[in-house]
């Protein structure tokens, strides 16, 4: 009956493959995990949009907050803006990192779509974004009060991901 085992081999290999393919349906291959989770923010100093102040690591440290990477050329950021405005009204601290953008375009965009940000850093060259491991816009980082990155969300931030990913972590940070 050894022959029978050989003949069943293709079927067994196939079944194994199907199991993994099935698992694969619920994964998201395009979304990369951040390597920065658990690390503190990299040191940076950027011009702040609309003011003379400097946007630095100190600016965003102190309380639990979000750092949202956005740009006026990013279509998906428009969709996200509605939700971010809601969060801002609820009292969530949101800082913006304006990614590879032009000051005039960014200012115009904020006038049109609203400004939920406490402060916005202008990363014209994208260098700070590289340090953060950003590979597209929009992305949102969850920071704790010490400036340590706790989570990174890739893509549009919507109510579902806010409830599933952010709220539990925020609660954990605030009770700690």
């Amino acid at each position: 009956m050894k022959k029978r085992v050989w003949r069943l081999l293709p079927l067994m290999v196939f079944t194994l493959l199907v199991i993994f393919l099935w698992r694969g349906l619920s994964l998201e291959p395009q979304h990369l995990p951040s390597t920065q989770i658990g690390h503190s923010l990299p040191e940076f100093q950027l011009p702040q949009l609309g003011t003379e102040h400097v946007f630095s690591t100190q600016t965003v440290t102190g309380k639990v907050a979000l750092l949202n990477v956005w740009a006026s050329w990013c279509e998906a950021c428009i969709e996200e803006q509605v939700f971010l405005m809601q969060l801002a009204q609820q009292g969530v601290l949101i800082y913006g990192l304006n990614y590879k953008d032009d000051t005039a375009d960014a200012t115009r965009w904020l006038k049109e779509w609203g400004n939920p940000y406490q402060a916005i850093g202008e990363d014209h060259r994208g260098k700070v974004a590289i340090d953060l491991g950003v590979y597209g816009a929009p992305e949102t980082f969850l920071l704790d009060s010490h400036g340590i990155i706790r989570y990174r969300h890739v893509g549009i931030l919507d109510a579902k991901s806010w409830q599933q990913e952010f709220l539990p972590r925020i609660r954990q940070l605030e009770t700690a």
Partner: protein, 651 residues
Amino acid sequence: MIAELGLFSLLLALFFAALLVIIPTVGLYKKKDNWISAAPFYATGQFLFVALAYLCLTFCFLQDDFTVLYVVSNSSLSLPWFYKLCAVWGGHEGSMLLWVAILSVWMLAVCLFSASVDRAFRTRVLVVLGAVSIGFLLFLLITSNPFTRQFQNLNTQGRDLNPLLQDPGFLFHPPMLYMGYVGFSVPFAFAIAALWLGKFEPAWAKWTRPWTLAAWCCLSLGITLGSWWAYRELGWGGWWFWDPVENASFMPWLVGTALLHSLAVSEQRQQFMAWTLLLAITAFSLSLIGTFLVRSGVLTSVHAFAVDPQRGLFILCFLLVVIGGSLLLFALRAHTLQKVINPAPFSRESALLLNNVFLAAAMLTVLMGTVYPLLIDGLGLGKLSVGTPYFNSVFVPLMIPLLLLMGLGIHLKWQQDNVKSIAKRLLPIFIFAVLCPLLVLVVLTDHLDLYCLLGLILALWIIFSTFRLVILRGRQRGWNTFGRAFWGMILAHCGVASTVIGIAVSTAYGVQDDVRMSVGDKATLAGYSVQFISETPINGPNYHGAQAQFLISKAGVEHRIYPEKRIYNVGQMAMTESAIDANFFRDIYVALGEPLDETSWSVRLYFKPFVRWIWGGGVLIFMGGLLAMLDRRYAKVQKPVCNVHAHEVQG
């Protein structure tokens, strides 16, 4: 109205497919001859209604019927009419309809061109194909209806066809590829029919081989066209990226090649039946798995269609039923089909077996590399990427022994051959194949690339060995005894050698340069002078942009080429139309990158020697297969032979 007509046609096609599966099957078991011979009629009915549905969708595109969601997403008012024809298969739903349409075409072909096949057996084949059609038609109707209406977005230009697809190559590449993929369903159906029957039909391999050749030819040409098109369209001189979708077409091709060779043994020696059946099942299974990979969002690919896990789940269930069922059937029944005789170690049979071992190992390697990121992610072990460097470093070493074998195997006799006499015949040829490229490279180039030398040695070994075989056979048996199948084999093997030469030389001796150029600037590339002559704005039917003129010159010979940078009006997507100065021995390739300031551009220049030989080889392979398919032995109509062989029914 037309869209609803199309949808209704699909439903009718499904109805005919169901009839095709049920009625002849009942007829086979209840011995009702009328019901058995009704199969071709149902298959024809299915074909007619699928064709009608396809025409309806095409009509919707030509009429710019934007109330159909699929049309508004893949077309625009300003799209030229011939690209509208292509846009029909530009998105997921339409390409699935194309799949089903091509499957129906193959089924019709089986009805029309299988005069030599036993009637009852042919009915089984059609029933199997009908079952596969039902699966795809259900998939279309339930998850991917191309005729869905939408009424929100009526005052729109249309989202336009992806500019990457607006190229003549796109007219041919997908349909040809689908002809190949889908075509492997026919040998698959022949294999399942044989397993279903449970008896060995001695002519089975002879019936199956021409269909396999037809599908394999189409796939070979489809892959070749895709590679050539990518080279022209994508702007960075690459022609193969080991992208999951490319791999999805390459794997069935590898197995299809193995199947062809295994069928040769089954046809001539009535051996390797189990291998042949398994390969036939595997080739089509890989086509189906490829369909899954591309449409389910499971893998990242530049080719992938819109991601939809629900569709992925449907296909996966379909895969489980079709492939799982076939492999189970194989496990249970394959051994009943023939008595196995082990071939001698030094014979044509064993060479062909070894050939298939290498091809199968290559296929498994590509498969594993393609799904590995998925495996790792699925086990929760993180994200990994497997790309070109990996595939090149594992695939190439596997090909080396295979190419060596190609030169040796064709000389071996069936059943048993003599090592000494073969060695005496082939050793001088091998030495010659080593010395020639060595000499050529040392004399003509300034540095010896070892990889290139290896490739050239293997390619010349195949060519010289094949040439030697022709001379030998001609002397031994006479020059007019060569059948088309023999010439087909010669042509196809030389095609492989040509592709190897093209790959070896263009990879090793190719030159690339990224330069900043303004009008009037000159650059040098591999001894050629490349001058940026002028830049003019252009306006096309659905794009605007700039066209540059470049002058390529060397030793007094001049050519002008016109690369463009286009921005498609609807999607605001930028595209590079590269320009190529091509001849038999080299390509000079110019692509405009980004405009750096008011007057200058970043320009990419490539010198690619012998790159056309890659696709030339593909065309030779296609022609070789075509020739073999037209061999006269397949045209004869044969009555089913009363079998008194020793390899008879094993119950």
